[in-house]
Amino acid sequence: MKLTRRVLPGLILLIMLIAPSDLLAQDAPPAIDSGATAWMLTSAALVLLMIPGLAMFYGGLVRTKNVLGTMMHSFAAMGIMTVLWVVCGYAMAFGPNILGGWFGWNSDYFLLSGIDETIMPAGIPEYVFSMFQAKFAIITPALIAGAFAERVSFKSYCIFIALWGLLIYNPLCHWVWASDGFLFNLGAKGAIDFAGGTVVHISAGVSGLVAAIYLGARKSFPHLPMRPNNLVMTMIGAGLLWVGWFGFNAGSSIASGLSTAQALTATQVAAAAGALAWIIIEGFHRGKATALGFASGVLSGLVAITPAAGVVQPGGAMALGILATIICYLAIQLKEKLHYDDTLDAFGIHGVGGIVGAIFLTFFIRDSWMNEAAAAAGSWSVIQQLGVQALAVGIAIAYAGLGTLLILFILNKIVPLRSSAEAEMQGLDNHYHGERGYGMTNPN
C-alpha cells in the first residue's frame, strides 16, 4: 500500500473537485498506465483465486461430513462481502474520515456509482483498485471461519461475517490504508502494513480466537481424534494460496514496477523459508516431515511477509519466514496444552504469524525507507518504528478482539451461533446444505 500514500490524497481531491459540479474530470483525466492496469487486473484475479484456495485448504482439513459446509464458509464470503463492498464497504474503507475517523464515507462510492469513469493518479481505473481491495474484504472473514469450523450454524455465520465486515474490517482497513487513517499517519512514515498483516491476518486471527472460545469446543474435542478428510485437497489449496499471494502482496504496490518486484521476491523467499523451517522443526520434534506441516510453513511464512513485503529485502524475508514458522509451531503446541478449540488454527497461523511479521519486520527495513522516514521526521530510529508497529498491532488486536466479542454476544441473543448437537453429529453438509461432499464413494 506504499503508493496509496501518493494515490489517495490526489484521488480524494479529485472527487471533492468533481462532486459538486457532477462533472467527470473531462478536462485532463490521468492517462491510463496500461502496464500497471494489466498487473492490477491480474492481481485482483490472483487474490480472488486465494478464496477457492482457502476453501480447499480448509475443506480438506475437516471431517468428511463437514467438507462442503466448510468450503461454503469461503464461498459464502465471496457472495456476501462482494455485495457489501459495492454497496458501502468501499465508501467506509476509502472515503474521507467521518465520526472522528472511526471509518470513512463518500456517498459517491455508494454502488461505486461515482467511479464509473475515474482513472486514479496511479494510472489505473478506480474500478480495478476497488475490486482488488474487495478481494481482501472477502478473504479476511473467510479466514476466521477456520477457527470455529465444524460447529457454527450457516445462517448465523453469514450474518456474523456481514456484521464483522462492516464493523471490524472496514474501520481497520480505513485506519491502516486510507490516506487520512490514523494508523496510516502514525510516526514518521506510518505504521507499516504493506498488504494486510494487521488488517487481514491479525484481525482475522484474533477474531477467530475470540469466536472459537466463545462458541466452545466441538463435541468430543479433544478426546476423540478428528482427522482431515482429504489432505490432497488441502495441498492443492495451499498451492493456490501461495500463487494467489503474489497478487495479494505484489499487487499491493498498486503499480507495476520496482516496488512490485521487491514485494514479489520477498513473498516467494519468505514462503519457501517458512515451509523448510517447518518440516525441519517437525523432523526434529516428531521424526517426520509432514505434508500438512509443509503447507502450514508456507502459510506462516506468507502471513509474516504480508505486512513486510514492501520494506524488507530477501535476507529479511527469509528471516521473517523462519521466525514466523518457529513461533507459529510453538503457538500450535501451546494450543494442545490450553485446550481451546481453534479448529484449523486461524489464530495459530494467521494471528500469530501476522503479529510476528508486523513486529519483527522493523529490524529488517531497507535503508532507503528509513532514510525517507528520517527525512520526513528529522530523525527516525528502529526503536521508534518498533513502537509504532507495536501500537498498530495492539490496536488491531484490541479492536478486533473486543469488537468480535460484542458482535458475537449480541448476535447470539438473536440467532444462536452454535450448531445444535444433532447438526454437529450429522455433519454440516447434510444438515445445512442437504448435500454430501463425496457421494461417489457410496454405491448409489
Partner: protein
C-alpha cells in the same frame, strides 16, 4: 464368542463409539456401507440444484465387534442407549445382528479362542 454386527446412522457413530468405550469395548471395525431399511423417504432426502433427490440406498455405518459371551449384553446396551439418545425414535435407526463366532486367531501370536478377542 459372538460376532456383533450393528448397522447405525452415520451421524450416531461418535456417540456410539463413546458409549462403547465407556463400556470397556475398544476393539472395533467400522465401515461405510449403503443400504435400505425402513427409513421414511423424507428423512434421507438430499438437494442438488433445487431438485430433491431421494437416494434409494442410503449411507450407513456398519460396526463389527467380536466379543466374549459375557460382553454381548453390555455391547448391545451401549449401542442401544447411545442411539436412542439422539433421534432413536425415528424409523430407520438401524439393526444389531448377533451371530455365533466359531474361532478367533490373533495374527501376531497365533493365540486362539476367547483369549484372542
Amino acid at each position: 464368542m459372538k460376532l456383533i454386527i450393528a448397522i447405525i446412522r452415520e451421524n450416531q457413530l461418535d456417540q456410539v463409539r463413546e458409549a462403547l468405550i465407556d463400556a470397556g469395548i475398544t476393539r472395533i471395525t467400522v465401515s461405510h456401507v449403503s443400504g435400505h431399511g425402513r427409513a421414511k423417504r423424507e428423512e434421507t432426502e438430499e438437494i442438488y440444484r433445487g431438485q430433491v433427490v431421494i437416494p434409494n440406498l442410503v449411507p450407513n455405518i456398519r460396526l463389527e465387534i467380536a466379543v466374549n459371551d459375557n460382553f454381548v449384553d453390555p455391547t448391545c446396551n451401549a449401542i442401544l442407549s447411545a442411539t436412542r439418545a439422539n433421534e432413536g425414535g425415528l424409523v430407520g435407526s438401524g439393526k444389531i445382528f448377533i451371530m455365533p463366532l466359531e474361532q478367533v486367531i490373533r495374527v501376531r501370536t497365533g493365540e486362539k479362542g476367547p483369549d484372542a478377542i
